[in-house]
């Protein structure tokens, strides 16, 4: 697939959820195919998210909009809240009056849209942390915990659970931790399982990133 160079639909994350911007040159069938693939790849991530469809660049017919809407609801359990048709023209579907609740953990609220989510304690088994941008964790991520971020994940502790950086498809996202010994690593659409057996403890820290379509852990 050539989706990584220019995806048929650009998925942008922001505090209210996600914005879908279809590529002006893509055919409608390509849009549907791409969206279907993305939803099936990362269904859990998009679940219950609010989405805005931005059609300022690529207008669609009403039947096409309703087909995309049906796809989002059925496949991704997503709520389409707004369709932007022009600069001043938008169709509000079912945007809730109150914003989505803040991230599950207490902590200072992000000041700007793209400021990182900071978690100031150890993430124990059963905890799921989702950040719409970068995520910083001051503590360990234990087995059974999940950290999912649209951007990078930075852990000042040991990563032993599951981490998913670049969750909306950003392959340049990286995972930083004092020690990376997880159950599973995910960056964008790539999933890696670390080799069995013990490895030397890093002296400083480790970084996981994508190199040639595989996730590499670099020890520093």
């Amino acid at each position: 697939m050539n989706a990584n160079d220019s995806p048929a639909i650009l998925i942008k994350a922001n505090r209210e959820g996600f914005t879908l911007v279809p590529d002006p040159s893509a055919s409608f069938e390509a849009l549907v195919a791409y969206l279907e693939q993305r939803l099936s790849e990362s269904r859990d991530f998009f679940r219950h998210a609010d989405m805005t469809l931005d059609l300022r660049e690529r207008p669609l017919r009403t039947d096409e909009i309703s087909r995309l809407h049906g796809l989002l609801v059925a496949k991704g359990r997503v709520r389409l809240v707004e369709v932007k048709l022009g600069e001043d023209l938008s169709l509000v579907l079912d945007r809730p009056s109150d914003r989505r609740p803040p991230p599950p953990k207490p902590g200072p609220a992000p000041a700007a849209q793209d400021s990182a989510l900071v978690i100031r304690n150890t993430c124990r088994s059963g905890i799921r942390i989702v950040s719409q941008s970068d995520c910083v964790i001051l503590g360990d991520v234990n087995p059974g915990a999940e950290v999912i971020a649209v951007g990078d994940i930075i852990i000042f502790g040991n990563l032993r659970g599951v981490a998913h950086a670049g969750a909306t498809g950003d392959r340049s996202a990286r995972i930083w931790a004092l020690s990376i010994e997880p159950n599973q690593l995910r960056i964008a659409d790539i999933v890696a399982v670390p080799p069995r057996g013990s490895k030397p403890t890093p002296r400083r820290f480790e970084i996981a990133e994508i190199q040639d379509n595989t996730i590499e852990v670099i020890t520093l």
Binding site: N121, T122, R124, S125, G126, I127, D140, N142, P143, G144, R160
Partner: protein, 263 residues
């Protein structure tokens, strides 16, 4: 005077919650404190069997909460220690027969009369767990050196912390020092580094535990039992006595025994 309310929990089943409650309760009672042990595992009661009091049950926890009897009617006195009581769970009811608010009130009332209220929590993290931890100020998390038990302990600690219960202690049960040395079992240090809660004590793996459970007499009545000694130390630490954790020494004693055998 308000007593201490302590819940013993683990997440995973079969790691030794009930044995821990029975032994710690017995040691504290031997130290002349008044102790009541509350079996919160409604539907799967065990504590009465471990204490050997199964045949004396008339009323139970649910009867107290539903107002069918007075607290004193449901309390069973230990066979040896007159200041040790248990309140058995109902075997024919379900966890939903009780709610956290009622448990909290009952624990509060018991704490007014007793020095220690020990609550035996059921396995799992559902209603029964919520009931059991509702009234407690202190939690003891029991785990074994197995990854599955540690994973569940971690989850339970997270839930306790989320529920504003921050006085959490750890007991590692069924530790086999020989297997740790061979690298076949997680060491105490590994477990503590993962769970990050203060350690109350380590109980060595032993057949004596099974035997005492089957006989219905807590292990701590036996003199010269290693696991019993570990429970004595744990109860003393829980009681605020300063007893050093002799993790290192245990290894050296083992070493000495080994050297003795080898020579």
């Amino acid at each position: 005077m308000a007593g201490k309310m302590i819940v013993v929990t683990s997440g995973k089943g079969g790691v030794g919650k009930t044995t821990t409650v029975a032994n710690i309760g017995t040691v504290l009672a031997k130290k002349k404190y008044s102790v009541v042990m509350l079996d919160a595992d409604i539907g799967l009661r065990n504590l009465d069997v471990v204490m050997g009091l199964e045949n004396r049950i008339v009323y139970n926890l649910v009867d107290i909460i539903e107002g069918k009897c007075r607290k004193q009617q449901a309390m069973l006195r230990d066979r040896k220690l007159h200041n040790l009581y248990i309140i058995p769970a109902a075997q024919t009811r379900e966890k939903s027969a009780v709610n956290p608010e009622q448990m909290k009130n009952l624990c509060q009332e018991l704490a007014d009369e007793f020095d220690y209220v020990l609550i035996d929590c059921p396995a799992g993290i559902e209603q029964g767990f919520k009931n059991a931890v509702a009234g407690a100020q202190t939690a003891i998390v029991v785990t074994t050196p197995e990854v599955s038990a540690i994973r569940d302990a971690d989850r339970v600690i997270g839930l306790l912390e989320a529920g504003e219960l921050r006085d959490i202690h750890l007991i590692i049960n069924r530790m086999n020092h020989r297997m740790v040395k061979k690298g076949d079992m997680m060491s105490t240090e590994d477990i503590i580094s993962l769970l990050a809660v203060p350690l109350l004590g380590v109980i060595p793996e032993s057949d004596e535990v099974v035997i005492s459970t089957n006989r219905g007499t807590p292990l701590v009545h036996d003199r010269g039992s290693k696991a019993g000694a570990a429970f004595h130390q744990i109860a003393a630490r829980l009681n605020g006595e300063e007893i050093a954790l002799d993790l290192e020494q245990k290894v050296t004693i083992m070493d000495r025994v080994k050297r003795f055998i080898w020579s």
